[in-house]
């Protein structure tokens, strides 16, 4: 695991050395904040609802993460491929899986920092009421899991191309697909999707976290998708040997 940590630390340092982390971070915080206070249509008013809750954060943050996280992951492998530094990387005593995991963990550093910065919202709510702290904790666990899955999908998209923009668009489409479209698509294909298939939707899986419940089924689901994305990224990297 040591090479993974070394790679992760290097990746995290690289992320925070580039302005993109700060721009993406600031956009994430502003967008989340605006949605938190004014809702999707800009017509809601958090204070008018007069309820000490952080639910709007968990309602809207996944939308923003689905757009922002692919922007962070787009350069991870696409840029290495474009600059040819990937060849240098693979000469080091690390496996392809370790490279992918290192990149993913490095990007998770950004996710953790971004989520930590949103703690200002629960702090604000706690200063003016008594929100359910347990439910907030559950929501953050959910955001961390869904964010990690988005990152894994973003890394996977980044292994498929040398172009960062293409990686970003494909990554974002994948995240958005899982977040919003699975449910709708299932209903389009099957008139009555079986309950097991309906569970493919990220929104269904995330709902429990937002209520303050950490359910093993939901955790397993996000970890499964992440693991498959990591595996697909690994084989995508390995595919250079077959071309």
């Amino acid at each position: 695991m040591k090479p993974v940590w070394i790679l992760a630390r290097r990746e995290m340092a690289a992320t925070f050395d580039s302005p993109i982390a700060y721009i993406a971070g600031a956009v994430f915080l502003i967008a989340t904040g605006l949605l938190f206070f004014f809702g999707l249509g800009g017509t809601d008013d958090f204070f008018a609802a007069r309820e000490a809750t952080v639910r709007p954060l968990f309602e809207y943050a996944p939308w923003v993460l689905a757009v922002i996280l692919p922007a962070v992951t787009m350069r991870l492998l696409a840029e290495e491929k474009r600059q040819g530094t990937l060849e240098l990387l693979v000469t080091l005593p690390v496996t392809d899986t370790q490279i992918v995991l290192g990149k993913l963990l490095g990007a998770m550093g950004f996710l953790v920092v971004a989520l930590a910065m949103t703690l200002v919202l629960p702090a604000l709510v706690m200063s003016i009421g008594h929100p359910d702290v347990g439910a907030i904790l559950g929501g953050y666990v959910g955001l961390l899991l869904i964010g990690t899955t988005f990152l894994a999908l973003g890394v996977m998209a980044s292994t498929w191309t040398q172009n960062q923009i293409v990686a970003f668009i494909v990554g974002m489409m994948l995240c958005m697909f899982f977040w919003t479209a699975t449910d709708a698509l299932l209903r389009l294909v099957l008139d009555q999707p079986p309950p097991a298939l309906a569970l493919l939707s990220f929104q269904s899986q995330f709902a429990d976290f937002a209520r303050g419940v950490v359910d093993l089924r939901n955790v397993l689901y996000f970890l499964s998708v992440t693991a498959i994305a990591v595996l697909a990224s690994t084989y995508s990297l390995r595919s250079r040997h077959w071309q």
């Binding site: 971070g25 904040g33 359910d132 693991a227």
Partner: protein, 815 residues
Amino acid sequence: MAETTKKSNGRIDALVMLGAAVGVAVLVNALAVNTAVRLDLTEQQVHTLSEASVTAAKALDDVTVTVYISKKLPDVIPTPQGKMPLKGIDRAFRDKLAEYARAAGGKLKLVFAEDGNPGVGTIEEQGEAAKLDAFSSTEAQVQGSTLKFQKYVLGATFHYKTVSEVLPKALSPGFYEFEMTQILLRLKEKYEQSQLMKEPLAQGKAVFDGVKTCNEAVQKAAKVEEKKEEDSGLSLKGGNDPNQKRLNAMQAAAADLDKACAPVAGLVSGDGAKLKGKNPFGDHLVDNAAEFDKAWQELKQATSGQAPAQGQLPPALMVQQLALLLDQLFHEVDRAHQTLADSPGRKSIGFLCGHDEFCPFAETSQLVDPSVASMLGQNNPMMKQIVQAATQISQAIDETNAKIGDNLFTKRGYSIRRIGPDEAIPNDVAALIVYAPRKPLGEYTRYQLDQTLLAGKPVVVLAQSWQVALLNMQAPEDLGNEMRMDWSGMFATASNLEDVLKAYGVVLSKDPILDSKHVETVRVTGMVNKGGLQFQTQQDFPYAMIPVASDFDRAYALTRSITSLSLPYTTSVEPSKELAANKAFEVSRVIRSSASSLKKSGPVPVLPQTLKKLVLDTPANGPHTLALAVQGPFKSAFAGKEIPRRPEGDSKDPQKAAQKPSDAEYELAKRTFKSEGKGKLLVIASNLGIEGLSRSDVLAGFDLSKFQQFSPESIKAFTQWQANFQNWQIRIGQVSHLLNENLQFLSNILDWASAHEALVAIRSKGDARRPMDDLEPEKQKTLRLEALVGSPLLLILLGLVRWRMRLARNRSLKV
């Protein structure tokens, strides 16, 4: 070649590995679907079964739950409050049921209704047959040439031995636990009590079955001709008139109908007569069955072919109408039978009425005897119209109260009883609610309350010392002018609860409790003039006279799990020094206001801005007790005094007139008088925003003798009655947005009073609203700006610092 094969093998290996990984992931997730490993992080363990629910699930052997879930539920459904999201609700329902099944350790079995089983219909049809409430979505579907709304069901029926209960519509996941535990507790009670009521239940069932058989035969005969017409399109005997065809068909089936319906009369006079007088629900069933039989006899006569008497409808039309009437009467019988079957073990809660309090019943007597009203018009038609309009207002009041009682209590499974001011409290009343009387309680009522308390039955008193009206309507001074609606104020009620409660060591204050910080809003209705037209507007203002309490006695079941409660126009309540010092009593300050609250002698200015200024200028002296519970050996307030006699009562009510107070009754009361006894008293110094609507308040000063001749005063009085009714609506409207939450609390009070304390805490879990403090708009802006700009700015600053450090490091490396 070898290179190509190697590449190809690599691709195949990757695909196989990836496929295998997906397969393993699917398998692991599929296996996990039925596991229940989860962590409920919420403070009140909102999503985990409480101990009381687990005990209730384990207490019954062999419960079968038939679950009805529509295959494809809509994402949202329309409700009067707006759209209700249903996404994932079926899963939440299944999970909760599965949790109960696990908790019961095999004693509770789940059976899921399936579509397409021969003879049982769709899940929706099965659900409706099992008395579930079907609901529809916003999307209509084209079926043939008509647009129809698809029906859905989500609910369950619980069966235990010979009894069953229905969860008709499971659309509130927050209350699943409450609803299911309530059903399990009820099943146990119902079964135990039904064993003691076997005979009346069997008699009731016999009557119901007889009526059902008759109605089915009648409806089948009445329908068959229409069907034939649709199928063949031929003109049958009787031409094209469907009513004539129906009459012909019923005449043809007369023998069968008679065979099916003849037993009804016998059942009503046989089993029905035995049932009568044993149980009020049984009486209701027999009365309805007798009405049904009467209608059947008329139908029989109409189909016999006899010429109609003068003034009667033609037989064909009459048969059609009577067939419809029979079906309606059957549904009444069905409902009455259902109520009888549900009655075992149901505890009655008495609501005191007759003092302008919240009394969820229709009045027992009519405002004006119809025969007297018809005579009025002989002298003056205008006066007759006014009396008719007053009667309509009175009917509207009755309907509103009855509907409130039905929707809030009866439909939720509570059995409530009206206790009039001149009535003795029946023995089967398990608890008494005195809900915010605005008139003084008479001596006899006080005596009844006293003896109920000393008998160990819970007594709940809600007090309303003030009526607060931000907008009032009043009749004009001069006839012909428009109604005035330009003034506001607060008025002390004439309640004597202060005096009543003093006898039990409870000191109820009349001073309003105000708060500067922890408050809810009041909804102010106003009129604006736009382009010469008057428009009604509504606006919410934070209101110092609606304090939000969040300081509760957690040891008390009633307030164990609630997080906040708004108490409109509350005063305070404290134990007397003697009561507080008496160790034999358990005294609990159940609800307290915040430290920022203050007690101020009333009346105070009621307009939100003026009141706010007053509150900000007055130092806080909170917290104050807003609800007090006392349990212990109370002494009678009538010890050593003459026991009051029961008053004569309302002579207009024939039932009351027949039950005149007698000396024997008084003698019995003296012999059974309790001078002390252990009791439970709960006093809440607010009406929770639910203000009573009463005839005597709205139609204040109504006197039929004044309507013999025309007088301007009568017309003015009539305008004032209309204004009074509207004023009640306005006052309810002021706090309408708080009522939902407060009604939940009221339900908790009823559960507490009917000794279902476990349910109280469970219900509150689903109702965990957490209000925020009242903030000035400026403060809101500042907080919003800090949150929106603060963290991004901090992140960018960190980036700049890191960039500067890197620059400095690079420079030092160059050097």
